[in-house]
């Protein structure tokens, strides 16, 4: 187990490095930079720009330095003083901006995961055990619909219902929009997880060890929980790995639709205005969270499944 842990953690370091490079590369991709976008905007309004001021700004942000130099400046700031750089759009430190919005983001993502687990576990188990029952068909239909509906569409429809039926206010964040956000994010994850759990459990239920355990006189309910379910539960722990990025992605869209001040809309704006440090930092933080999520789920899997832990096959 310790060896597995060590190997897994060793593997995280190069991944994190690559994530940071990619994050920085993405925001460098578009032609031009924040200043050129800024100038273009000003000129569109017919205003003049002072070239000397531009040059000084350029110097200050090191925009003329080669990619590698800019990257190292940024990274050393983060590693050494937790300084994520300066947002040009907001004229404030990036770290401050993100810190203000991260708690709500994490709260929404966490609540969504809780919803996903609480709903999909019983529904998935029911669906597999009572295969081809009416309940199974209903669950299957709903989960198929859930997978097919884009997050933002569901958010829009729910908002519309809330607005016309209950007079929901959508101009700013409130309990109503938060609930909608969690339900919307939960639905997508739940749908996928129900399908996976059902398929896995059906597979496991056909294994010889289930018949063997039944032949020992084990009760059906106990048999289900103790044997196949424990194996079929594996995807639940993998969800920490794949649910997090998908929630984070969905959250960007849903929060934008619902006007919830999380990191999502902040990143979107930053990307559109080429506010490089802000956009890069958010992408990187999300990437790092994903990597950490994957590690946690791998470790949970190893802890739970002796085959992973002891390296069978």
């Amino acid at each position: 187990m310790l060896k597995y842990l060590g190997q897994r953690l060793l593997y995280v370091i190069p991944t994190l490095l690559m994530v940071s490079i990619v994050s920085f590369a993405i925001i460098q991709l578009p032609p031009g930079d924040y200043l050129s976008t800024y100038v273009a905007n000003l000129q569109a309004k017919g205003e003049q720009v002072d070239p000397a001021l531009l040059e000084s700004l350029r110097q200050r942000y090191g925009l003329d330095d080669p990619f590698i130099v800019q990257y190292f400046k940024w990274m050393s700031g983060i590693v050494l003083h937790l300084d994520f750089g300066h947002s040009m759009e907001w004229s404030r430190p990036v770290g401050e901006l993100i810190a203000a919005r991260l708690p709500l983001t994490i709260a929404i993502a966490g609540a969504s995961i809780a919803i996903v687990w609480l709903v999909s576990l019983p529904v998935g188990v029911y669906s597999a055990v009572k295969q081809y029952s009416i309940g199974d068909y209903v669950a299957t239909t709903i989960s198929f619909l859930g997978l097919a509906t884009p997050n933002f569409l569901l958010a829009l429809v729910m908002m519309w219902f809330g607005f016309t039926m209950f007079g929901l206010s959508v101009s700013q964040v409130n309990a109503g929009t938060l609930i909608i956000a969690m339900i919307v994010l939960g639905t997508a994850g739940t749908a996928g997880l129900i399908r996976t759990l059902r398929a896995n459990l059906l597979d496991e239920l056909r294994k010889p060890y289930v018949v063997a355990a039944r032949a020992q006189g084990l009760k059906e309910s106990k048999l289900l929980i103790k044997y196949p379910l424990r194996v079929a539960m594996n995807p639940f722990f993998s969800t920490i790995g794949w649910l997090l990025p998908s929630l984070v992605g969905g959250e960007v869209i849903v929060s934008t639709v619902l006007n919830i001040p999380t990191t999502g809309p902040l990143m979107l704006d930053a990307l559109l205005s080429q506010d490089m440090y802000l956009a890069g930092s958010i992408i990187m933080i999300l990437g790092v969270l994903t990597v950490i999520g994957t590690v946690i789920s791998d470790l949970a899997l190893a802890w739970l499944d002796p085959r992973v832990r002891l390296g069978a096959n």
Partner: protein
């Protein structure tokens, strides 16, 4: 009797009121059991009216080919039939002890409490795949403790203590340590011991064993059979043993039930059934298996024509009539045969026993059933085929010299090679033109790898594979590049083990069989001579030439193996490597294929390297046999010499483990039993690889010096045992 059991009996007493008249010597009476599967394609009557009485304290063997419903019968007993199967009719009357009341298991709700108390408590069950039958998520100890506490109201500590005792009882060394092992950390044999420990944890009155040794090696099988027999003696339990292997039946059974297509064909005491089989199917089965150590060596086995149809296509009348050589037209194909009692306790369902159909001369029935075609079979003159066998001026067809195949073991995330397994370790072997060399050994001994290295399906690590098609020049196949190898690919051909996996399902027979002609000789697709050749080849292997546009999915296992043979022989090869070519087949089909291979050998002057784990088949087909252990050949001799006087302890152990299909020879063999665990092939033991399991291990040499494979005696035979000349080892006893 516990309170729980009382409840069971009172609860179900009214169900069995009409049939309490079960003899107290019968522990279980299966009466007219029908288990049907309701599928989209219609009702499949997997078990259709089976009657079996299991005597108290005895072993009843249920025997039959695949698809005959024997496993379904066993599972029906405990209500373990999965959807869409259902027990349609019949009773399973169960009487745990002489003093308990009779209950009908078939009438109990499969998910109910009543049957649950019987499962595992009164009736234990063991399955075919030991590793898959244990949950991979828990230690074997935890699973054993659970089984104990399900039926005994004791504390966790007590259960743990008892579990360790149980592990010890089933012969698991270091039970304290093994308690904490996961199933995938143990060998198949160990897992089967654990399964047996679980099944017997609550001292059941009946043990149902469903092909418990089929997935295991013969040496392990022998030990598991011994274990079950020993435990039966100790506890007095009854056993219902399901198997397809008549050798196992002869070894362990008191009574036998032969099943065919969901129905009982014949039933009786083991000696009666083997000595005077009353049903043509039983007779045919018995004569289609090669029995080890029989001096009267027949070149052909008698066969049963055709194959077992699927239960959905069961013929009307007697299910066996369309394969039966004695079927009476107008009777057997229309009327289901009735039960006929023959002598004491033997019964058979066959129209031949109807008084009106009794043939005037009853001798012919009792006589050993000889396939009429066997007379026509040419007596193979082995000497003629291998006349230039000992010509010293000619090279052997194949000389393997110091051949080694290493497999790297990778580790860590960068897949570094950390060590090697020597799957084949410096093997030398000669094969002369026209002979059949058998290669035997337990699974993992490297016999398949050796075959693949010779055919260059994989690249050897070192050594030579000297091939001499004409006897005057030799080519080293081991070092040739793929392109240089091409002309030899048609000279050395392989028949694979798995008739299903070895044929690409996406190609029709013409494409499959003609592939080597096209790829090696560059024959054209439209070339009509290719089609002619394929048609001729199909005819030779017993398939209709019109089949060449069909796809493999349309054929049964036996037919596919014929296709495989056709593909191997289309290039008229010199050497054919048959890698477990008949292992996946039912006995009746196996005999057909073995006969076909023998015929083709004569016709095409073939040389066979016959790789098999089945010693009786190897004895039947080979002239010479090499025995492998842990990547090395430990003994090589002519078949007769090897089987009558082995010169290596491993050969002796291997042979003594093979169950012989003759109940009268039960116990006549010297019993050599090996410990289950093979040594780790990555770090083989010092000295003789076999010394860790060898019953004849001496104080010196064995654990220090590696014995070389050396010539011994006057015949051209070799052995790799330090003490070969000192030891007197037992072969298979011949029945004079």
């Amino acid at each position: 009797m516990t309170q729980q059991e009382m409840n069971v009996t009172t609860q179900t007493a009214h169900d069995s009121e009409g049939s309490v008249a079960v003899d107290s010597d019968i522990i279980m009476s299966i009466q007219d059991l029908k288990t049907w599967f309701h599928t989209d394609e219609g009702v499949v009557k997997a078990v259709d009216g089976v009657n079996i009485n299991i005597p108290r304290g005895k072993t009843m063997c249920l025997v039959g080919e695949s698809g005959c419903g024997k496993s379904i019968t066993a599972r029906s007993v405990l209500g373990l039939i999965d959807q869409p199967g259902k027990i349609e009719d019949g009773k399973v009357l169960w009487r745990e002890t002489r003093d308990t009341e009779v209950v009908d298991l078939a009438s109990m709700k499969p998910t109910g409490d009543a049957i649950r108390r019987i499962r595992g408590g009164q009736i234990g069950m063991v399955f075919q795949e030991p590793i898959a039958s244990l949950s991979p998520m828990y230690t074997v100890g935890a699973q054993l403790v659970q089984a104990i506490r399900l039926h005994q109201n004791i504390s966790a500590d007590e259960a743990r203590q008892r579990a360790i005792e149980q592990l010890d009882r089933v012969g698991i060394p270091q039970p304290q340590r093994r308690f904490h092992s996961y199933p995938f950390q143990l060998s198949g044999g160990m897992c089967q011991r654990v399964m047996i420990a679980i099944a017997l944890a609550n001292d059941p009155a009946l043990l149902i064993a469903d092909e418990p040794t089929t997935a295991l090696d013969v040496t392990t099988q022998a030990r598991i059979l011994d274990l079950i027999a020993g435990l039966q003696e100790e506890t007095g339990m009854s056993v219902l043993f399901i198997t397809h292997d008549l050798g196992v039946v002869a070894e362990i059974a008191d009574d036998v039930t032969v099943m065919y297509l969901g129905k009982v064909a014949e039933q009786g005491g083991v000696n009666d059934v083997f000595d005077s089989p009353q049903h043509p199917y039983t007779r045919a089965l018995l004569s289609s298996i090669p029995v080890m150590g029989q001096d009267t060596k027949v070149s052909r086995l008698s066969t049963i024509k055709g194959m077992v149809p699927t239960p959905a296509n069961r013929p009307t009348g007697c299910p066996f009539h369309d394969r039966c050589t004695e079927a009476i037209v107008g009777v057997c194909d229309t009327v289901e045969p009735a039960v006929h009692h023959v002598g004491a306790g033997q019964l058979s369902l066959c129209h031949l026993l109807d008084p009106e159909h009794q043939p005037p001369d009853s001798e012919t029935v009792a006589d050993d059933d000889v396939d009429p075609q066997e007379e026509l079979a040419p007596k193979v003159d082995i000497a003629a085929r291998t006349d230039n066998l000992d010509d010293p001026d000619r090279f052997p067809l194949l000389s393997v010299r110091d051949l080694s195949v290493d497999f790297p073991i990778k580790n860590g995330m960068f897949s570094r090679v950390t060590s090697h397994v020597h799957a084949v370790n410096k093997v030398s072997l000669d094969i002369r033109p026209g002979e059949t060399v058998g290669l035997v050994g337990e699974s993992g001994c490297g016999k398949t790898t050796l075959g693949r290295a010779i055919s260059r399906a994989l690249d050897p690590t070192s050594g030579q594979v000297l091939f001499s098609p004409d006897g005057s020049t030799q080519v080293d196949l081991a070092t040739l590049s793929n392109r240089e190898l091409k002309p030899y690919r048609e000279q050395v051909r392989v028949i694979f083990q798995d008739p299903f996996a070895s044929l690409n399902p996406r190609k029709n027979l013409l494409e499959l069989i003609s592939a080597p002609l096209k790829k090696i000789r560059g024959a054209d697709n439209k070339d009509s001579s290719v089609q002619e050749k394929v048609a001729e080849m199909l005819r030779r292997v017993g398939l209709q030439p019109e089949y060449m546009f069909r796809y493999p999915h349309a054929f049964s296992g036996g037919q596919r193996q014929r296709i495989n043979i056709a593909r191997a022989l289309i290039t008229r090869p010199k050497l054919v490597i048959a890698d477990e070519a008949v292992s996946a087949l039912d006995v009746s089909v196996r005999a057909q294929i073995l006969n076909l291979m023998a015929d083709l050998q004569d016709e095409y002057d073939l040389t066979y390297l016959f790789i098999s784990h089945d010693l009786s088949v190897v004895e039947h087909i080979s002239e010479r046999v090499a025995v492998m252990y842990l990547g090395e050949i430990v003994e090589e001799a002519s078949t007769h010499e090897l089987f009558t006087s082995p010169q290596h302890p491993y050969t002796e152990a291997l042979m003594s483990a093979v169950p012989i299909a003759d109940p009268h020879r039960r116990g006549s063999q010297i019993r050599v039993r090996l410990p289950d665990d093979l040594p780790d092939a990555v770090n083989p033991p010092p000295g003789c690889y076999f010394h860790t399991r060898c019953p004849h291990k001496a104080e010196t040499l064995c654990d220090t010096d590696r014995p070389e494979l050396h010539e011994i005696g006057d015949g051209p035979r070799r052995t790799a045992c330090h003490w070969a000349s000192e030891l007197s080892l037992a072969g298979v006893a011949s029945n004079q």
